[in-house]
Amino acid sequence: MAFDKVWVLAEAFEGKPLTVVNELLTKARELGTTVEAVCFGGDAASYAADLGKFGVTKVYDVGDLGGSLPGVPVASAIAAQISEGNRPDAILFAQSYDGRDIAARLSAKLNLGVLTNLVGLAEDGTSEHAIFGGETLVKAQLTGEKPYLFLVRPKSFAPEETGGGAPEVTTIDAPDAGATNGAKISQRHVEERTGPKLDEAPVVVSGGRGLGESDKFAMVEELAKLLKGAPGASRAIVDAGWVPYAYQVGQTGKTVKPTIYIAVGISGATQHMVGMKGAKNIIAINKDQEAPIFSIADLGIVGDVHKVIPKLIEALKGR
């Protein structure tokens, strides 16, 4: 093992650790002899036992953040621990909205190197990163002072429980960070999405530029619903404002690994492929037979999505 003590940032939503946290904890057990978690948000005590099941022996709880965005206070709390000598060898973060902010703040605060977008991490601390649409893997190592900071893409590791007991929970304080801690949340909005979550759905149907106009995304949503799946999107139509960013599949969006991925009118830019090429089965429909997406599709249909998809929807409805 490369490391003695490994920390994992355990982000939670509605009182439960995110799935990616379990993935990170499983990997952390391979890397280090001791695995501890850092929590924030105020209800760590209620899910500490869930973390224990994945091998966490101690939880550091930053507690309620009083409306601050997590980046500054959580990084300050971790930095304070490290300055006091409680120094892990590595910290794993999810490549998430808040994980990135916290790792970046910590990196600049303590002058630590940070490796991002990991899809693999070997026992000796060598990281793997997918580039060029996932065709090439780059392996890298941090060389500076520890702790090493790793931001890991969700779905990179399979979670495995150890059946450990509930860990001890210790409260840690976030020192006053002055002006840097100025960003405050005034109101939260939850956008209801029906059906399964994009990154957990067994079937994902994504639409791209080939749909022609934003109204046609309804076709993608209908097909997803019929297959009990989630609708997704290429960056092109998110940039064009047809659907919110939350739908985006790809390097800059979500990584999905469904049983079936259906790409509707998506040409297959490398930026998109890196987020979906881990799907077990890929079906692509595109009118351009040279579209790169066909190079990774198990079933490729060269045709007009405006003809093929309505017929497919009709056929599925008739069953």
Partner: protein, 261 residues
């Protein structure tokens, strides 16, 4: 302040190889090859547009582009200047070849300090390197608060208000200025440079600096090393069917085989 109504906004701009041409790694240094003409990263067009709109609304001030690129490359910056930015600062230095994100952040923060901006805007991540940590590292080094993943931005000159994308929806977030904000693509519709803009850009100042011109605390040290580059397990193409009006039946069959329906 010469103009209390004005807003000075810095936009961090990355100049990258044209994403339309396939990327390459240098086999010896194992870093991205950045030769030939560089273009402004598409992701940064949104930030430039947002900055121009905020300055327009404030009724004064200006947009400054800050970039780090090899070989004094300014082609991408000219695009931003043609869109309406007033000036640019470019840091170019051989010692920065293969710089990691923290090193780049130190360089950009030192360059940004020279302008004393009210607001710094960056993309959430670049199209080629996409580490996504740089803007917040810059914020920490400048001692500024930061709000990432903005899908809308407004300011009254003392506070910035942002709708920040979250996993579940979005948060309304406020921060006093100066601050760093990262914008998602699609936040605004970038304008096309006009012919007049393109002509005007040729005369706009681009300040060219090296590391020696900047006050970088602790200097620059690279803390990461690429150890290997390997081909990923390739995914093979499967069956390709040209639609003759019945291709949907083949999809149904395929879904049946997989027991999805």
């Amino acid at each position: 302040m010469e103009d209390n109504l004005g807003m000075n906004v810095v936009v961090c701009v990355k100049q990258i190889p044209d994403p339309a041409s396939p990327g390459k790694l240098d086999p010896s240094t194992k870093t991205l090859v950045r030769e030939g003409k560089l273009v402004v990263d598409d992701s940064d067009m949104y930030g430039i547009e947002m900055a121009l709109q905020l300055v327009g609304t404030a009724g004064g001030g200006e947009v400054t582009l800050v970039s780090m690129a090899p070989n004094n490359e300014t082609a991408g910056l000219r695009t931003g200047l043609a869109m309406g930015a007033a000036k640019a600062i470019l840091v170019s230095d051989d010692s920065l070849k293969g710089a990691d994100s923290l090193t780049t952040a130190k360089v950009l923060a030192a360059a940004i300090k020279r302008v004393s901006p009210d607001l710094v805007i960056a993309a959430t991540e670049s199209t080629d390197g996409y580490t996504g940590t740089l803007p917040v590292q810059v914020a920490e080094l400048l001692g500024f608060p930061s709000i990432t993943f903005a899908k809308s931005v407004s300011t009254d000159g003392t506070t910035v208000k942002v709708d920040r994308q979250t996993e579940a929806g979005y948060d309304e977030v406020e921060s006093p200025l100066p601050a760093v904000v990262t914008v998602t693509a699609g936040v605004v519709e970038p304008r096309y440079p006009s012919f007049k803009g393109i002509m005007a850009a040729k005369g706009k100042p681009v300040e060219q600096l090296t590391v020696a011109d900047l006050d970088i605390e602790g200097g620059v040290a690279v803390t990461q090393q690429v150890t290997d580059v390997v081909a990923a397990e390739a995914r093979k193409a499967g069956e390709i069917v040209t639609d003759e009006g019945d291709a949907h039946e083949r999809i149904v069959q395929f879904l049946e085989q997989l027991k999805v329906i």
